[in-house]
Amino acid sequence: MKLNTMSDAIAKYVHNGDTIAIEGFTAFICFAAAHEILRQKLEGLTICRMTPDLIYDQMVAAGCVKKMVFSYLGNPGVGSLHCIRRAIENGIPNKIEIEEYSHFGMVGRYMAGAAGLPFFPLKSYLGADLAEVNPNICFVDNPYGKDRVAVVPALNPDVAIVHAQRCDRQGNTQLWGLIGMQKEVAFAAKHVIVVVEEIVLEDVIRSDPNRTLIPHIVVDSVVHQPYGAHPSYVQGYYDRDNKRYLAWEKVSRDQAATEAWLAEWVFGVDNWEGYLARLQAEEPNIWDRLAPGSAPSQPVNYGTYG
């Protein structure tokens, strides 16, 4: 049975010391999974994400991170990630090891991981300093010319947590909007937890097979967790809660305030349903405020043949 609660999925697939990737470029960021990882008191994690965003800022602040692999540290459209800066600049709450790439470098690492390649080539890094501080960035000779091409090593996380709009009960997963690296990280990981807004019938999936980016054979666990990406967004389901991105900018400037926030919003609730209840208590019409209007795709005909 693949359909699990978040609590069971995390307990089963995420272990102390694991390398995990919770991806999603601005959208689909699965805060529900991160909070559950914190509640389960996992330790010594290596966390990978192109854009650590608030989700890893919170994880770093909670002290469960040993190392972070990334390519851009920012609160998108807002400012800095203060908790991560505190950890890097001052070792608060603990010193974390960092392994840094450019976006394309992370893209290449996931692509190689997904594709069973030891490395991925890209034309980058020459003339810049990143390869000087990251020995995992190498160069190979181009056998068809005289130039050298940068390569980055495959990244194969122990666990990937991938948020999406919908899947069927087997885990065949469809997503649309900013698809980011969701497909590649799912193929790259040893275990995959898919978290969706909706579980749909297999027939819905089968009506549009080109939209299925993640097939069930790479999915270990399916979690049905509506609003699981709040305060980030899910295209067509809810908008980004920018108010709370702005609020984090203030909270996160101070470690004590951050810990108080975590105590209230993460450790002070039993699960994501508890978080959502607290959210709605604070702002009763939140889901109305964040509800997008309707903009359906025009259907295409796959045809019947037989």
């Binding site: 390649l117 097979p209 299925t212 097939p215 054979i217 043949y305």
Partner: protein
């Protein structure tokens, strides 16, 4: 019932299909072509492996064809599949990514190590017969976790030395040759023919099971090298009535692939 009594109750193709289908018991993700492998996989789904997932080289995953597909690119495979992807995803993430457990291959020539030739008869630069070439076969042979080969037994095909190695099998008799060359898959496991089934023991094709009605000597005479015979030689089980019924009524009602 003696084997000879049933000799006309099934065709050689049906025998190969039933044997291949049974070999799929416990498999999860199989890479298929059209023709016999396709029918064998569909038969396995209906008998020993209900959860078997079929992946087509054209990029189709978990198809639900409404008719017998004419090729791996038939549109009937696309409609109602769970996923359809481009060639890049197929070869990168599915095949090279190690997601394919089992694949079927055939060829014009095979050698005792299970290397396959589907490229050329004669010299590559001045061919006597130009064959289709690799397609995805070379990578399938390297990456699928297990390879099952289906081809008719004949001395013209089971040769001492291939004219061209299109798809590597166990490469040579040197143990660990595949590992040394960095091949993730474990190579050919079975060769299923119209007369017998062969296994690979220490990388060498070994007669393992004879179809009813054939003899070891007959089979040896169709193989160009001194054929090893397993000490535990078996007789291949006949297609069951159920299997024959499914093949004839459901999978190939017009006998396009199975009448011979």
């Amino acid at each position: 019932m003696e084997p000879m009594d049933r000799m006309f109750a099934y065709t050689p193709s049906e025998m190969m299909i039933a044997t291949a289908a049974r070999a799929l018991e416990g498999e999860r993700v199989v890479f298929v072509g059209v023709g016999l492998p396709n029918i064998a996989c569909n038969l396995a789904q209906r008998t020993v492996s209900p959860d078997l997932e079929l992946v087509y080289e054209s990029g189709v995953f978990s198809a639900r064809p409404a008719r017998l597909p004419l090729s791996i690119g038939d549109p009937t495979l696309v409609s109602c599949a769970t996923s359809v992807v481009g060639m890049a995803d197929l070869f990168m993430n599915y095949l090279q990514g190690g997601r394919i457990e089992t694949a079927f291959l055939g060829a014009a020539q095979i050698d005792r190590c299970g290397n396959l030739n589907s490229t050329v008869i004669g010299d590559y630069q001045n061919p006597k017969v130009r064959l289709p070439g690799s397609g995805g076969a070379c990578e399938i042979a390297i990456h699928a976790r297990k390879i099952y080969i289906i081809m008719p037994l004949s001395k013209r095909s089971f040769v001492e030395k291939l004219h061209f190695i299109t798809s590597p099998g166990h490469v040579s008799h040197m143990p660990g040759e595949r590992v040394k060359l960095g091949m993730p898959g474990s190579g050919p496991q079975l060769v299923i023919t119209n007369q017998a089934v062969f296994e690979f023991r220490n990388g060498e094709m070994t007669l393992y099971s004879i179809h009813p009605g054939f003899t070891v000597d007959e089979i040896k005479s169709e193989v160009a090298w001194p054929l090893k015979v397993a000490a535990d030689l078996q007789t291949t089980l006949l297609p069951s009535d159920d299997e024959l019924r499914i093949i004839r009524k459901e999978l190939d009602p017009d006998g396009i692939y199975t009448s011979k």
